[in-house]
């Protein structure tokens, strides 16, 4: 998505620069274009600084209204009856007991479904006056199922005589439950190259599904009473993904009939686009009841029908020479995405090997289909790659950081590996796996360090239309239909406008999350910041240009010589004759000013790099792993909000920590049921598991363009932690999560030799 620019003429402009609170004007050279440019990274008054979230106060007081909190008159609560079986047919369904209940206003049945293919597949749904009565109604529905054979583990699914997940036409390109995908490279060449290596490692890696576990479950509130229009409140990553789908499901003529509202949303991580299953059901219920319906998935629903990060089953063989060169890699990768395809990046991921062979396939099971989840496919490729890299480094007796540097040429990684190593104290790392002295009783506590690298796109594109309004009383509004997932898009929208006008962030009112505002892309692929901020910049620039043209005569200056800074407007050569912001706005007259902006090339870039380092302590008596410290060095071009960027880095590390040590989908091969569908049983990292965390924004990145970084910050954690465990106790755990049983098993094997 990176659009190349022609080389541009340069021009010199004066910009205010704040050093220790003192403002001076400095001359800088920028591209001579008629459009907006960011200007020097260190010359900003707002962006590239720590910025307080503009919606912080609303969130800490409970005033922020999420979809879950929306209440509209006459609203009903929806509930979904889930299939209790991984594979079944509906023999009969009797919804009449539910229909007869007081307080139940609509019941729909999905009895016409030919086959239920996963536990959680909707069977029926109700809408009632309270959630409790809706729950009663769901329980009152009588369903007779014919259970069919299922597969819910990859080991079951791969067997030649395994029950088939898909049948009939769906089965066309399948070999059993395996859907073969691409093959790259020459296997024979790789095998031949491996023979020339000084060290060869072959391992099998297994990663279970991870759940998004958004704290606000998936769902929508459909405010529809049977008329020509509807308003839909949605917990979504895409405001504009809602109206079309909702209109279609409600039977309204087109998307203009539906207004989508996404004021606040409680986490998505890749799983919330479109009206989705709960939205579809809610629209159907609302249409039937001719009344508004609030349908938020229950927590159990959320685990069973809101998607997951596909698991992975990979066989990897790699070889290196003594001088630290990764020579050849062969990988067979099965994506475990349940009913969906899953996603899987290649191996050796960011590293270069001369010969690479890769074979990818999807192995289907009777489980809810996977969805995109924070850097889809990358953590699944990073963990095995980084594990193998460490094994090879150990085999040839080379420092793992050194070995990595020899096999990746991009200087960004070299810079980041050095910075991360320094921050974690890499020089204190014990040099042989399991070779540290140990501490505590029986010297059972062993410490170790590990690292891993990541890459991501994060580029922007033309999708946002931003409006800036300035009112004669000094008000500034920035308006765009984008959504804020918690990444802080509301704040950066305000920040870019504030930066342009030399105002504090709080002076800008940001209106987002409404489909009647200017369009915006859905937040996927870390594309929001790089798509949104150039459009905001353009709108603010256009507004400033108009504003300057109006004010120039008053200040006896040319429009381009006006400086907007510190709540004042003045000519560059006459800072003493400044207008206050309010005085300047009063000059706009009754109509005020409005300007629209769109994404422009040259303000955003593409491609980010990041590294993680982890230090762990392994209790070799209990197998418990405690992460002591995590470091992430992440670049993002021009950082917009340093505070929120660091928070995103922390969040990425923490989700990666969960992926590495705690989070696991337990599917019972016998019943076909997922056994841990609650937050008690599906372990998310909590306060007690928090290590010291060091988020580092890589300021060595000289690119002066905005690039998204939220997703990559989670990728290397599992690899870094697995390597730290290996370094601590000598056990190479090749499956996630790294649970105590695996450590103890590994230690026992080491003792046996």
């Amino acid at each position: 998505m990176a659009l190349q620019e022609q080389p541009k003429k340069k021009k010199k402009i004066k910009v205010p620069k704040v050093i220790n609170g003192e403002t001076t004007l400095v001359e800088v050279e920028v591209d001579d274009t008629s459009g907006p440019v960011w200007g020097p990274k260190d010359a900003h008054t707002v962006i590239n600084h720590p910025i307080r979230r503009v919606d912080g106060p609303a969130k800490v007081t409970g005033q922020a209204k999420y979809t879950y909190d929306v209440r509209v008159p006459g609203m009903l609560y929806g509930r979904i009856l889930r299939s209790p079986h991984a594979s079944a047919e509906i023999v009969s369904i009797d919804t009449s007991p539910a229909e007869r209940m007081n307080g139940v206003k609509a019941v729909i049945s999905y009895a016409d479904k030919k086959q239920l293919k996963y536990e959680g597949d909707p069977v029926a749904a109700v809408a009632a006056i309270t959630p409790e009565i809706a729950e009663d109604a769901i329980r009152a529905i009588k369903v007779t199922y014919k259970k069919l054979p299922h597969v819910v583990t990859p080991q079951q699914a791969i067997k030649p005589d395994a029950p088939r997940v898909f049948s009939g036409r769906e089965e066309a390109d399948l070999k059993g439950n395996l859907r073969p995908g691409e093959t790259r490279g020459d296997k024979a060449e790789v095998e031949a190259a491996l023979k020339t290596c000084d060290a060869v490692v072959e391992r099998e890696f297994m990663i279970t599904m991870q759940h998004h576990a958004c704290l606000e479950t998936h769902g929508i509130v459909v405010d529809y009473n049977g008329g020509p229009t509807a308003t839909v409140y949605a917990s979504t990553q895409g405001t504009f993904t809602i109206p079309g789908e909702a209109a279609q499901t409600l039977g309204l003529p087109n998307q203009q009939a539906v207004t989508a509202v996404v004021e606040y949303m409680g986490g998505g991580f890749g799983s919330k686009f479109g009206i989705d299953l709960p939205g579809e059901v809610a629209c159907q219920l609302s249409k039937k009841a001719k009344a508004p319906v609030h349908l938020m998935l229950t927590r159990v629903d959320e685990f069973l029908m809101a998607g997951n990060r596909s698991g992975a089953w990979q066989k990897v063989k790699a070889g290196a020479t003594k001088d630290g060169k990764l020579v050849a890699v062969s990988a067979t990768q099965y994506r475990l995405g349940g009913l969906a395809e899953g996603s899987q990046a290649g191996i050796p991921y960011i590293y270069h090997a001369e010969k690479v062979y890769r074979e990818v396939a999807a192995l289907h099971t009777n489980q809810d289909g996977s969805r995109s989840f924070r850097a889809p496919g990358h953590p699944q490729a990073c963990f095995p790659t980084e594990s193998i890299m460490d094994d090879l480094a150990a085999a040839i007796g080379m420092d793992p950081v050194e070995f990595r540097k020899k096999n990746v040429s991009d200087p960004a990684y070299h810079r980041q590996l050095d910075a991360g190593a320094k921050a974690i104290g890499w020089e204190n790392r014990n040099k042989t796996p399991g070779g540290g002295p140990g501490s505590g009783p029986n010297n059972a506590l062993k410490r170790g360090m590990g690292c891993g690298c990541a890459t991501w796109g994060g580029g922007g594109g033309p999708s946002c239309q931003v409006d800036v309004f300035i009112t004669p009383d000094g008000g500034v509004v920035a308006q765009v239909g984008t959504q804020d997932l918690g990444t802080g898009s509301r704040t950066i929208t305000a920040a870019v406008v504030a930066d342009e006008f030399g105002l504090p962030v709080e002076a800008i009112e940001t209106r987002i999350g409404h489909s009647t505002y200017g369009s915006a892309n859905p937040s996927g692929g870390s594309t929001t910041t790089a798509s949104l901020t150039p459009a905001v910049k353009d709108a603010a620039y256009n507004a400033r240009t108009q504003f300057a043209a109006k004010l120039a005569p008053m200040l006896n200056a040319k429009p381009e010589d006006l400086i907007f800074h510190d709540g004042k407007v003045y000519a560059a050569n006459a800072p003493d004759k400044a207008l206050t912001w309010k005085q300047a706005c009063a000059a706009l007259g009754m109509a005020g000013l409005s300007a629209r902006g769109e994404w422009k090339p040259g303000l955003s870039g593409n491609g980010v790099h990041g590294v993680h380092f982890a230090e762990v302590e392994v209790d070799t008596e209990t197998g418990q792993v405690r992460v002591l410290k995590m470091v992430c060095v992440q670049d993002c071009g021009l950082c917009v909000n340093r505070t929120a960027t660091e928070s995103q880095i922390n969040g990425g590390m923490i989700q990666g920590l969960g992926y590495a040590l705690y989070e696991k989908t337990v599917a019972d091969p016998f019943t076909g049921n997922m056994l841990n569908t609650t937050l008690d049983e599906y372990k998310l990292p909590g306060c007690m598991e928090m290590p010291e965390m060091i988020p580092i924004i890589d300021d060595g990145d000289e690119r002066n363009v905005v690039i998204g970084m939220a997703e990559p910050a989670t990728i290397p954690a599992a690899g870094a932690i697995a390597n730290a465990v290996y370094n601590a106790c000598g056990v190479r755990v090749t499956s996630l999560p790294i649970t105590p049983d695996k450590i103890l098993d590994g230690l026992a094997k080491l003792r046996k030799g």
Partner: protein, 221 residues
Amino acid sequence: MPHDKDELSRDGGGLSRRQFLKGVGLVGAGSALAADLLAPETAEAEPKPLQEAPAGETLKKGFLPITLNVNGQAVNMQVEPRTTLLNALRNHADPPITGPKLICDQGACGGCTVLVDGKTAYGCMLLAVDMVGKQITTVEGLAQNGQLNPVQEAFVEKDALMCGFCTPGFVMSVHALLQSNPNPTLDDVKHACAGNVCRCGTYPRVFEAALAAAQKMQGRA
């Protein structure tokens, strides 16, 4: 945990209306008693005495009017015996009190943390009818006259929130901690928030905010 009948009548043999209602609410659809109260046919608002009730007590079914004291205000609402405090606040109070969040509905995440007579409690683990006569404080009750309290201020200042859905719960846990322990260590903060879950990963900044708020409050005192 479902209570059985023996447990319900354990202390003192008698079964007050309040205890009975509590038991029924917690039993769920499994037992004969609960099945009667929860059965669809009985969901209308008409009082009917049950044989099990001690003389002089009347068991209510369907919706009954209660008044809760929430953030210093009397809040009237109609709830069922089984309605949790959390659902009562969110779905039955008018205007709805939606600061406490429904996330797990089983006491596993802390998103619905409120204060009951000054102590933290999970709103999803309490029955609304049991809360009559108690002082309930939700996150909406912390700011005074539009001024954020020091904990809320620190959360904003330290960026101890991202999507913000867990934030009300964390704010309440930290607020309660600082009421009882004005000078906490990092470990104290971790323990105080151990019942709160965040998915965006705000923990390190929640810790910072809690410690910063404590310092600020001490400075003021």
